[in-house]
């Protein structure tokens, strides 16, 4: 069974179709790339899957369960985490607090959260992840005091915090310097090796081509191609989508 199955997903904003009947499936353990020119509907796809936007039509199935139109907190609790193209953090909270918030709602009840039962275990996990990402020494800094690259890493760390089954990365490399790109690619590959499933939207083609074994191409809200990096690079439809005709 596919981990994530998107069937015929449609999203309209008034008259504008941002997604028209997009279908795709993600297998457990996969590292799938989603590419396409600006405005092709990639981020809208993520928003519809994670409940940030309600789709106008179609279905999203996660581990066989229909989660179409569920609110973002429910989708997250089911095991789908994501990062954002424009980094979204809690700026006036510390790095550690940002990480802890990302874990605390995954399990337990509203009342049990008053009692801070899991705090020690989760703090340990947060520190371990911050260590892995190389920003452990910053745990007491406010998120707003971090550099852009460090914020990017924190955003990534928060997505890992709940130990999700599926992680959606929205342009993880945007604005990141070459050293950090290598660094992040290493992290993604290492985590993928440990069994984490990723879907990555990325504009840096070199990164997508070397990271992903399968790539889906969107253009103007439609899925126009799918294949291995080599197949995608030689597909004339893809070049037209990017360069025009």
């Amino acid at each position: 069974m596919a981990l994530l199955e998107i069937r015929n997903l449609t999203k309209r904003f008034f008259r504008l179709s941002a997604l028209s009947g997009v279908s795709l499936s993600v297998e457990p353990g996969e590292l799938l790339g989603v590419i396409g020119p600006n405005g092709s509907g990639k981020t809208t796809l993520f928003n519809c899957v994670t409940g940030v936007l309600a789709p106008s039509g179609g279905h999203v199935l996660f581990r066989g369960e229909d989660i179409t139109g569920r609110s973002p907190d429910i989708v997250y609790q089911r095991g789908v985490a994501r990062t954002f193209q424009l980094i979204q953090l809690f700026p006036e909270m510390t790095v550690l607090e940002n990480m802890l918030v990302a874990a605390q709602e995954r399990t337990g009840t509203l009342l049990s959260r008053l009692l801070r039962r899991e705090e020690t275990r989760e703090t340990a996990r947060a520190r371990e992840l911050l260590e892995f990402l190389g920003i452990a020494r910053l745990e007491d800094n406010l998120a707003s005091n971090l550099s852009y690259g460090q914020q990017k890493l924190l955003d990534f760390g928060m997505a890992l915090m709940p130990d999700p089954q599926l992680i959606l990365l929205d342009e993880p490399m945007a604005g990141v310097n070459p050293t950090m790109i290598k660094n992040l690619m290493g992290h993604i590959l290492a985590l993928n090796g440990r069994g984490y499933t990723f879907v990555v939207i990325e504009h840096n083609m070199e990164v997508v081509m070397s990271l992903c074994r399968r790539i889906v191409v969107l253009s103007q809200g439609e899925r126009i191609a799918e294949g291995t990096p080599a197949e995608i690079a030689d597909n004339p439809l893809v070049l037209d989508a990017y360069f025009g005709r």
């Binding site: 973002p72 907190d73 997250y76 979204q88 809690f90 700026p91 006036e92 802890l100 605390q104 705090e119």
Partner: protein, 321 residues
């Protein structure tokens, strides 16, 4: 932790000792300040931590005041009235939380403002229950069997005990995962929801708990003054609470304590200047907002950073909240 708690302990010690040296009037002002501290802590939770604007704090307060006043007339013990007032305020807080799920910012301000006006009108017109615009006089102070809190000093300590309970419980809630979820909603609502924070649950709770504290403060307010009328629970009063929270420092734990103290005591201090005192008061509020947008707690931060940088060279890490 050390920094978070020791000012509170110092404040408690001061609260215990001050009545020994204060005259009756100053004791009354201090009692009133404590009542307002309780109320402001509630609003700070709703607005300062969870970021939900509320302009009906005085209406929540009214549930507490009228519950003890009305039940007191029928000989029901004060504490029972207080519990009823808190439950009513909590319930109406939940109800008011629902609009907060739909609307934000100034729209929410309008909704809560409207609620305050409705409550005021009900209090004024439901004469058989509330005594209408005359209100209810001789509200009884609590008594435990032969031991009564009738004297001003005894009642002051009674209020202080409740204030300590409120401060401790608020400290506990705000330092639990709830406090973190509240702040996450304030900082970035969309991101909070995407890391699993249920906006519905936490916004409702932020409103209801804030209202419950208002009910507690209201219950203590009625017997402190001895009488109540609808005029005590108008929008003006709600705005006064807003001012305490903002002046003290939104979303800072010590904020309401400082804010309530300033807003209550400053007019008393300025009273000597006769007709000018309102103008001076308003001007100082404007100046404080201009130069200390983060509230008076900001001054405390500066002092803390200064003393820290004097002892250790690296003070770049964030201040704990």
């Amino acid at each position: 932790m050390a920094r978070g708690l020791w000012p509170l302990v110092a404040a408690l010690a001061l609260g215990l000792l001050l009545p020994l040296v204060l005259d009756q009037y100053k004791l009354y002002v201090l009692s009133l300040t404590l009542v307002y501290v309780i109320l402001a802590i509630g609003l700070n939770l709703t607005l300062g931590y969870a970021g939900q604007i509320s302009l009906c704090h005085a209406a929540f307060m009214a549930f507490g005041s009228y519950a003890v006043a009305i039940l007191g007339q029928h000989g029901v013990p004060f504490e029972a009235g207080l519990v009823l007032g808190v439950v009513l305020a909590f319930g109406w807080g939940l109800v008011l939380g629902f609009p907060a799920l739909q609307v934000k910012h100034h729209y929410l301000a309008m909704v809560t403002l409207g609620f305050n006006i409705i409550v005021f009108l009900v209090l004024r017109n439901w004469e058989s229950l509330t005594g209408g615009s005359f209100g209810i006089s001789s509200v009884a102070r609590p008594a435990w069997g032969p031991f009564s809190f009738k004297s001003d000093r005894a009642f002051y300590y009674y209020i202080l005990a409740w204030a300590a309970i409120v401060v401790a419980s608020a400290y506990w809630i705000l330092h639990s995962r709830w406090g973190r979820a509240f702040r996450a909603i304030r900082e970035n609502e969309m991101r909070a929801e995407v890391v699993g924070v249920s906006l519905r649950n936490y916004k409702l709770m932020a409103f209801a708990i804030g209202a419950a504290y208002a009910g507690t403060g209201g219950a203590l307010f009625a017997p402190l003054l001895g009488y109540i009328d609808p005029g005590a629970f108008t929008l003006d009063r709600s705005i006064q609470f807003l001012m305490m929270v903002v002046l003290g420092g939104l979303g800072r734990f010590e904020g309401p304590l400082i804010g309530a103290l300033v807003v209550t005591v400053l007019p008393e201090v300025l009273r000597g200047s006769e007709g000018l005192y309102l103008i001076i008061y308003a001007l100082s509020v404007i100046l404080m907002m201009l130069f200390m947008p983060k509230g008076l707690v900001g001054l405390w931060d500066l002092a803390w950073r200064f003393s820290k940088s004097a002892t250790s060279p690296s003070a770049s890490s964030a201040s704990p909240r």
